[in-house]
C-alpha cells in the first residue's frame, strides 16, 4: 500500500528528529521568536528614525484602524477578512515601508482587541510581508491576472507563516504531525482567505487605488511649509 509506505517513511524520518534534545527545540523557538521580534523592531525603529511627519503618522494610524475594522467587522464569517486587501492596497499605493507597518500594526492592534498571544508576532510578520511585497512589485498590479494570483497566493502564504507559530507546541521535538494537522485544519481557511483577496483585488483595485492616491496627494500637500517635511512616498 502506497499510503502505508509513505506514512512509514514519514515516521522514520521523523523519529530521527524526535530523538533530538529538547534544549535544541527550545533554543530554536526562542531564537525564532526573538528573530521575528527583532525584524519587526528593526522596521519600526527605522520608521521612527526617519522622523515622519504628523500627516504620515496619522495616515498610518487611520489605515491600520481601517484594516483592523476590516478584520473585526466580519469576524462572524471566518477567513473572510478585508484586512489583507487593505494592506495590499496600502503597499501598492504608499510603498513597501508603509505596507509593512500597516500590516504589522494591524496584527498588533487586532491582538489588543481579540486577545494577545505569541502568535501575534507571526501574524505581524505575515501581514507585514504581505504589505511590503505588494509595495515591492507595485507596478505589476495593473495586470488583472497578476492581481488575482497575488491575492490567492498570499491567502496561503499568510496561513503558512502564521501556522509556524503552532509547530512548537511540544517541547520534545520538531514534528511533522502538527504541521500537517495545521495545514489541513487551515486549508479551507487559507483558500477562502485567498479567494477573498483575489476577488477584492480584481473588483475593487481601481477604485481603491484612486481613493488612496488622492489621500496620499492630499496629505502630502497639506504638510505645512515651515515644518521639515519628509517625503511620504520614499
Amino acid at each position: 500500500m502506497a499510503i502505508e509506505e509513505m506514512v512509514t517513511n514519514m515516521s522514520i524520518t521523523e523519529s530521527g528528529a524526535a530523538t533530538s534534545s529538547p534544549i535544541f527545540t527550545i533554543t530554536l523557538l526562542v531564537f525564532t521568536i526573538l528573530l521575528l521580534i527583532g525584524i519587526v523592531y528593526f522596521v519600526f525603529k527605522m520608521y521612527e528614525q526617519s522622523k515622519p511627519t504628523v500627516e504620515s503618522i496619522v495616515l498610518i494610524a487611520v489605515l491600520t484602524a481601517i484594516a483592523t475594522v476590516g478584520r473585526l467587522i466580519l469576524m462572524s464569517i471566518p477567513a473572510v477578512n478585508l484586512a489583507s486587501f487593505i494592506i495590499i492596497m496600502v503597499g501598492i499605493v504608499f510603498g513597501k515601508e508603509e505596507g509593512f507597518l500597516v500590516g504589522a500594526l494591524t496584527a498588533l492592534v487586532s491582538g489588543i482587541f481579540m486577545g494577545m498571544g505569541y502568535w501575534v508576532i507571526f501574524q505581524m510578520l505575515a501581514w507585514g510581508l504581505m504589505g511590503a511585497s505588494a509595495g515591492f512589485i507595485a507596478s505589476k498590479f495593473d495586470s488583472l491576472p497578476f492581481r488575482f494570483i497575488f491575492g490567492l497566493i498570499w491567502g496561503f502564504l499568510y496561513g503558512w507563516i502564521t501556522d509556524i507559530s503552532a509547530i512548537f507546541y511540544s517541547g520534545t521535538a520538531l514534528q511533522i504531525t502538527p504541521i500537517i494537522a495545521l495545514y489541513i485544519n487551515g486549508f479551507t481557511y487559507d483558500l477562502t482567505h485567498g479567494v477573498t483577496n483575489a476577488v477584492l483585488l480584481v473588483v475593487l483595485y481601481d477604485w481603491f487605488k484612486k481613493m488612496l492616491t488622492r489621500a496620499k496627494v492630499k496629505y502630502l500637500t497639506n504638510t505645512s511649509s515651515n515644518s521639515e517635511s519628509i517625503d511620504l512616498t520614499k
Binding site: 506514512v7 514519514m10 515516521s11 524526535a18 526562542v30 523592531y41 525603529k45 520608521y47 521612527e48 504628523v54 500627516e55 503618522i57 498610518i60 494610524a61 487611520v62 491600520t64 484602524a65 481601517i66 483592523t68 475594522v69 467587522i73 469576524m75 478585508l82 507597518l101 500594526l105 489588543i112 482587541f113 481579540m114 486577545g115 494577545m116 498571544g117 488583472l144 503552532a166 512548537f168 507546541y169 511540544s170 517541547g171 520534545t172 521535538a173 514534528q175 511533522i176 504531525t177 502538527p178 494537522a181 495545521l182 485544519n185 479567494v195 477573498t196 476577488v199 480584481v202 473588483v203 475593487l204 481601481d206 477604485w207 484612486k210 481613493m211 488612496l212 488622492r214 497639506n222 505645512s224
Partner: protein, 348 residues
Amino acid sequence: MELTAIHPGVYLLYYFIMVLFAFIFSDPYFVISFLILILVLISLQGVSSELKNIMKFFIPLSLLIIILNPLLNRTGAHKIYLMQNFFVTYEAIAYGVLMSLALLIVILVFSSYNRSVSYQEMLYIFSKKLPIISMIIVMALRFIPLINSRAIEVQKLNNLKTNGIESNLNDDADNDNNVNINDGDNANDNANDNDNKLDLEEYDSNISSMDFNPDSRVLNKIKSSKRFQKIAKEAKVLGKIMGITVSWSLEESMFTAKSMKARGYNSNERTSYLSFKFGLADIIFLAIIFITVSIVVFGLIQGYGIINIYPSIDFSFSDLPLNIYYLAFIVFLLPLIYLEIRERMLWH
C-alpha cells in the same frame, strides 16, 4: 487586581517565562499542575470573551492533532491494534494529548496576561523605545470604534431602496401584494431582482468594469462562472460600503493631523502621564521569580519535568515528582493566585 500594583515590566517577564515553561515541560505531573493552576488563576481573574473566541479556533485544531498524530506517527513501543493490520501507538496518542495540553496552556497564559496587563500599561513600556509607533497604536485604537460606527451608517444607507417600493398601504392586510418592506428582503437581493432595470453598477466606472485580459483563458472561465459572479457582486456591495468608509475616514483624519500639530505634537520629546514606580511588591515578586526559576532550570538540566516519549514512553504515574524542583515550579505559579485570593478576602 486593584489592590496590589505591580510594575508592567515585572508582569511581562513573569508571563514570558510562563510561556517558555509551557513549551518546555512534558512531564504529565508538571503539565497537569500547570494546567490546573492556570485555570484557577483565570477563574479568579474572570474569563474574557476573547478567550472564547480563540477557543473556537483552537479546539478543532487540538482535536485534529490528537487524532492525526497517532495515524501518521507509527513509532512507539506500545502498539494498540484497532483492526487487523491497523495499529496506533500508545506513545503517539500520549504525544498528541501532551501537545494539545501545551497548546491549551499557552492560550490560557496569554488570556491571563491580557487580564493582568492593560494595553495602556503595555504601551507604556513600548513607548519608551518606540514613541511614534505606540502613538500610532493609541490612535488606531481610538479610530477603530469611530470607523466601525461610520461603516454601520454606510451599511444602513446601502439598505435604502431607491427604485420604488413595491407595496401598497391601501390594500387589505390579507392581500399578498401587501408586502411590508421590512419583512426580510434587503437591498442586496433587490439589486439582483432588478435585472430588467438598468443596473447602476454596469456603468460604474469607479468600481472596476471587469475587463479581463483576453489572453488568460483560465480567468475568463472563472469570470463566466455563476459562482464567481455572485461573489463579485457581493464583493462590490461590500466594497462600496468599505470604500465610502475608507475615503470618509481618510478625509476626516486630515483634521486629526491638524489638531495634533495644534497641540504641539512633534515639538519635543514625549513624556507620559502614566508612571509606574518600582515598589516593594515588585521586588518580592522578582525575588520569587528569580529563586524558583533558578531551581527549576537546574532541575530541567538534570531532566526533571521532561519525559522521553519516543521510542518508548518513560513515565509512570506512580513516579510522584516529590522533589524540590517540582515544588519550586508550583511556587513559581502561585504568586498571582495568592494575590487574587488575598484581594477577594480584603473586599469581604
